[in-house]
Symmetry: C2
């Protein structure tokens, strides 16, 4: 028998308990041993819950029980979650988590502690929910020099952009609908400003580079400035707009990371990723293009990914440890990656501004596409032409 | 140092040598040891080839060299490839292959021999080329009850169907173009009649069920009967046509497999998989929908998947063995899975035929959509109405 403890009985935590229970014969067969949840740590009580008797309030009950060999941390945050994860790993208990904030911040340290104590720190669910992208990058694409990872990594913003696309609606009203439908939080800042995507792309960049990528340093722009006119303009030129997290490897093996709204051609596989779905597009020097698609969030999809880690930990102990990264900061690219921009201008002014860039105005003399330029080159253009430039969105290609 | 031998210096075999050479620092780092190709077995000589000196004509040179711990079988077929694979595994050498025919036919036996001899038989490249679907099914979706796998698994037929969609062209002329461009073989039977897809979906069904699925028993229809009118009809109703291999698990855990052209809604992720790309859509009871997309064939993508297996074998010996299947035949579903059909009829006759099915004719009285029916129920309908039924294509949903 293998005993698991779940820290935090919220959405993901209760999902983990449900998956281990509901798919128990599959989970146990793949673990090589019967799997059972022994404790659930939560500050609250859950009277009437079928797992009421497993709820404990004192983490030491779990830490001091040698029967518990695997801990699922589904609390979130970097406070108690960090402390408890460290304590469990130091006791030789493997920890499986969906906590992207903690992985992005302390992943390297926690993996080292796990390695030193003969257990594993696993976090498949921290990026892309149910999409097994971390396992794919660390165990399947091992013969590749990965040159770029571009992902739709946040369900809330993708839901909003998909709805703006379908209904020609503006950002503010769509956000309101998303909140009413429960697809956006009451304080949606972390999603709509791109911080959530920044954490996830920094974890993927950690894996890609083998070094620490600080999520606070990712060049991040959210979707609050994307207007109904931007979307209409994109669609009329054969594009849609997606919030992408992109990590790019330079020829010198430096890494550049950014989060921003991008125009994506309608026939590109990422363009078809709608609503709350996520997808990660990985380019390698041999494989060329691959994409991994699925539910980026949600109770059961995320829980399924946590339990896949639990199964790996049960079966292989410390040898299932992902190829991780160390605490050395990654070498960042000295210049930002250049993209073409679709620039929207005051009607009648596109021709002038375009010609200053050696480009040509599109229909209606209200927009044009630049050559490849960096973010600061684009900022200089905006400064030069002031109010005449209404918006500029990079083109992913 | 880890030494590899490559059996067969054709497209995939030479790709394997190229990937190990070109990405050597990555391949070696991930293997935990320097990796080198020591022998290439081929009947031919390759004067002037940079690897000329590694070419041997006698397989015993490889079998009897204890330094060779991993063999890549990239010969194809079930004759010499089967014999050499068996011999290598019996000597304790792991074998990595792209040979779908051999895996479909003798996979269970070869995995057993590998297990008995402390080595691995690995075949990521046998399905979906560079898409790591076998590793995903066996190591990532381990907490799932997988209910259905539906794949675009053949690049030739997907190229033809994509071109028919874009150019409103007929099957025969498009096949000819595909042959001229090198996307279809001079004898295209195995591709266009669906046999290649049948082999691949049977391997995925092997993994899904844990038992042997005979590819010769997969209910297989190719794309030769798909006409320009069928495609036009599909597109006008919001669908495209894709050749899908589908394995479905029944509530009683029996498995049903089929290969056939299907109507796929234009907003479904599989609809956007164009040209020679492949994609596998996997449905699980917790994850819901996930999809894996990439190059299904081609020298370097396929070779990259073979080398990922080589790396696993080098790093983990026999413990990287996929969770495979045994030689017991799978329990097949007693009744075939039911689908709705889009039926195209002689102009003016759709109303009559539709009403006999309790359905309604679509615009122009030349087509209608049935309720869910089995293949034999549809055949009975065709028999009843004779020439008035021009075609019927299942709807994937």
């Amino acid at each position: 028998m293998k005993y698991v403890a779940v820290l935090g009985y919220g959405t993901v935590g209760s999902g983990v308990v449900y998956v281990i229970d509901h798919n128990n014969s599959i989970v146990s067969a793949n673990s090589g041993d019967e799997m059972q949840v022994k404790y659930i740590l939560d500050l609250r009580d859950f009277p009437g819950d079928p797992n009421e008797s497993k709820v404990v309030h004192d983490v030491d009950v779990i830490m001091n029980d040698p029967e518990v060999s695997i801990v699922c941390e589904t609390m979130g945050g970097v406070g108690a979650a960090y402390k408890f994860t460290k304590a469990a790993l130091e006791k030789g208990k493997s920890v499986c988590t969906s906590n992207k904030e903690l992985v992005a911040k302390h992943g390297a340290e926690l993996m080292k502690i796990a390695r030193d104590n003969g257990c594993s720190y696993l976090f498949e669910a921290s990026v892309g929910g149910g999409i097994p992208v971390i396992r794919t990058l660390t165990t399947a694409l091992t013969a590749e020099r990965i040159t770029q990872i571009a992902g739709i990594l946040n369900g809330t913003t993708n839901f909003i952009l998909s709805k703006m696309e379908k209904e020609s609606a503006g950002f503010d009203e769509t956000l309101k609908t998303a909140q009413e439908l429960g697809y956006a939080e009451q304080d949606p800042t972390a999603d709509i400003e791109g911080h959530d995507t920044a954490r996830k792309i920094s974890i993927l960049a950690d894996i890609m580079s083998g070094h620490f990528v600080d999520s606070d340093k990712v060049d991040t722009t959210g979707i609050t400035a994307v207007s109904a006119d931007d979307m209409a303009n994109a669609l009329s030129s054969g594009y849609t707009i997606k919030l992408l997290g992109i990590a790019t490897r330079g020829d010198d093996d430096s890494i550049s990371t950014m989060v921003a709204p991008f125009l994506v051609r309608k026939d590109h596989p990422l363009a078809g990723v709608s609503d709350v779905f996520n997808a990660i597009f990985v380019t390698g020097n041999m494989l060329d293009e691959t994409m991994y698609y699925g539910k980026g969030a949600g109770k059961l999809a995320t829980a399924s990914a946590v339990v896949a880690d639990v199964i790996d930990a049960a079966r292989k102990g410390s040898s299932c440890m992902y190829k991780g990264w160390d605490e050395t900061p990654v070498r960042e690219s000295s210049s930002s990656v250049k993209f073409r921009y679709m620039v929207r201008c005051k009607k009648g002014s596109a021709e002038d501004i375009a010609s200053s860039c050696g480009a040509e105005a599109l229909d209606g003399n209200a927009s044009f596409i630049t050559g490849k330029m960096s973010g600061s080159e684009f900022d200089a253009l905006c400064e030069k032409y002031g109010d005449a430039v209404l918006s500029g969105i990079r083109i992913y290609e």
